[in-house]
């Protein structure tokens, strides 16, 4: 089976966000594999181990993205591809990303593509379904379980807390939801092995793409921080009185009950 994983690097969830010159300051930030993409890497490895095949992890980014790709290789992926757009693209959006991936997949045999259901930074959740549509393959988003039996695939999909049981076939793209699995930590031998695994670097040229082919269809005109919240009021006194006061405040001052 040819299994692919779409991976993005994101800020660590414990990072605070600050803005310098109108942009998110990423100078000192700690980057991780987007947590939902980590489920995707883990599931791809498990499905390969159960069904055979190779796992290729792809990211679009810059040379720093190699770190997250090596982590995925250390977890057990077989091969990594970095599509380095640093010198070619100023701005991109989900359309850009999907068009680049479409070009990457052109001419490749694909059985299964795993992606995160959302990236915790931009959080649009568009790339997975867009790529599936461009490749003309079905997709299922927010999956919490996947079982492969020949070409038949049975999936459990999280739908706002309910579970849909879905039957479909490969080729297929799925996006991963929390609860799908517990991603492993890379082992020391895994980390050693990862250093020798193939990591291919491509640029837009290699995919026969011009900047104009992937030009974003949306633009960001400003990034700003939410207004700082003033510290609230901690109530005092006997618990019964505090509760009475709280309900009074919610009803009369905040007017939310």
């Amino acid at each position: 089976m040819n299994i692919y994983v779409l991976l993005k690097k994101t800020f660590d969830t414990e990072e605070k966000i600050s803005i310098v010159n109108g942009q998110i300051d990423d100078d000192s930030a700690e980057f991780i594999i987007n947590p939902y993409d980590e489920y995707a890497v883990e599931e791809a490895i498990r499905q390969r181990d159960a069904n055979g095949g190779k796992v290729t992890v792809i990211t679009i980014g810059n040379e720093d993205s190699e770190k997250q790709l090596r982590t995925a290789l250390a977890m057990g992926a077989d091969k990594a591809v970095l599509i380095n757009i640093e010198e070619d693209l100023e701005d991109g959006d989900q359309y850009t990303t999907a068009k680049i991936l479409e070009a990457f997949f052109d001419g490749r045999d694909v059985d299964l593509i795993f992606a995160g259901n959302v990236a915790i930074d931009e959080a649009s959740g568009q790339v997975g379904p867009r790529v599936a549509d461009l490749l003309g393959i079905p997709y299922v988003t927010t999956i919490t379980s996947i079982t492969i039996d020949g070409t038949k695939v049975t999936i459990e999909k999280d739908v706002e807390g309910d579970v849909e049981v879905i039957e479909t076939t490969m080729p297929l793209l799925v996006t991963c939801q929390q609860g799908l699995n517990d991603p492993r930590y890379p082992s020391l031998p895994g980390i050693m092995k990862a250093k020798k695994k193939p990591l291919e670097e491509l640029e837009l040229d290699d995919l026969d793409l011009e900047e104009a082919d992937v030009e974003a269809k949306t633009k960001t005109i400003e990034i700003f921080l939410p207004p700082a919240k003033a510290a609230g009021r901690v109530l005092v006194g006997d618990v019964t009185d505090q509760v009475k006061e709280l309900v009074g405040l919610l009803k009369n001052e905040a007017k939310v009950i």
Binding site: A123, P138, T168
Partner: protein, 324 residues
């Protein structure tokens, strides 16, 4: 000719979701003069849902009825809505950023070769072109976005753009669009109901969320009672989910759901950055925690330092008193 904006109505358990009405209001903000056309899909008679869209501001509604639209699939609903789009040639689309909206909108945008701005919480229409404001990094920051082409396509986050007043005296044309819905490759075999009945977490006006301080799955019971008393939904921190006190579908935070209810009650939650990202834009935040140093008190509007198992029952009692 004036513009035409499409609003995709979402039916859940036979009724339209609130966010569909909010989507009509959003379309009106984008262009007050536009004709607002609602679409609803299903396998049943959709007359009453179509009327509701009109009562909430739609000028007319197109319904698509087919057996293969009983449960949502991206292929089925995608075909149906694209058929109506090709027939009507709208100038833009608004839908809810819900499970279905998130799943379907990128496919439609890809088919239409357009940009898509997801999860919009506010629209500024003072300039030549509408500007869409959306949270990034789970609300740790916001961005203002525009569509570069001429076709605005957005999904809106539930609970942020108020719907218009329901006006049952409004009238409008309702027509059924007949199409064949075929070639569905992802087949929904079964739906297992796990979500607590009643209020959906992402649309709830009140959220009662528990953290590690709740100590066990049993400990969540009083939280459910409190949520019931307030007509709200229960959520949880990652700590509580990791400890198996509740299902991951309840998780609120940078991983998990992002919610913006009118009232958020954080119970036994310390207030890690990852959690705050998912709820700090709630309108009013109440924190109940034993630890007076807990970070959650820094963003709470009102705080009670105390044992939740003592505070919550008293709170339920008091709320029931003022409700009468």
């Amino acid at each position: 000719m004036s513009e035409k904006l499409f609003v995709v109505g979402e039916v859940k358990d036979g009724a339209l979701r609130n966010v569909s009405f909010e989507a009509i209001a959003a379309a009106k903000i984008m262009n007050a003069d536009a004709e607002i056309v609602g679409i609803v899909c299903g396998d049943d008679d959709l007359e009453s849902q179509a009327l509701e869209l009109i009562y909430y501001g739609a000028d007319r509604v197109v319904t698509v009825k087919h057996d293969n639209l009983k449960t949502y699939t991206p292929e089925g609903h995608g075909q149906a809505i694209l058929a109506v789009i090709h027939d009507e040639s709208p100038n833009g689309i608004v839908m809810g950023h819900t499970s279905i909206g998130k799943d379907l909108s990128p496919k439609l945008a890809s088919k239409l070769d357009t940009g898509l701005i997801s999860d919009v919480t506010k629209i500024d229409a003072n300039g030549d072109q509408p500007v869409f404001i959306r949270p990034i990094y789970s609300g740790k920051a916001f961005e203002k976005k525009m569509i570069t082409g001429a076709f605005p396509f957005i999904t809106i986050r539930p609970n942020n753009i108020p719907s218009l007043e329901r006006d049952p005296s409004r009238t409008g044309d309702i027509r059924q669009h007949d199409i064949q819905v075929t070639d569905i490759r992802t087949i929904v075999k079964d739906v297992i109901r796990k979500a607590t009945k009643g209020v959906d977490l992402s649309e709830a006006k009140v959220v009662v969320a528990g953290g590690r301080g709740v100590k066990s799955a049993d400990g969540f019971k009083p939280l459910y009672e409190l949520a019931d008393a307030l007509g709200g939904a229960v959520g949880a921190s990652r700590g509580a989910c990791d400890a198996d006190y509740c299902d991951y579908s309840l998780q609120i935070g940078q991983t998990g759901k992002v919610v913006t209810p009118d009232l958020y009650i954080a119970v036994g939650i310390s207030g890690a950055i990852q959690h705050l990202a998912g709820m700090s834009n709630s309108k009013v935040i109440v924190a109940i925690n034993k630890d007076p140093e807990a970070n959650i008190f820094n963003i709470a509007d009102y705080g009670i330092v105390g044992d939740l198992f003592e505070v919550i029952p008293l709170l339920i009692e008091e709320i029931n008193k003022v409700k009468v």
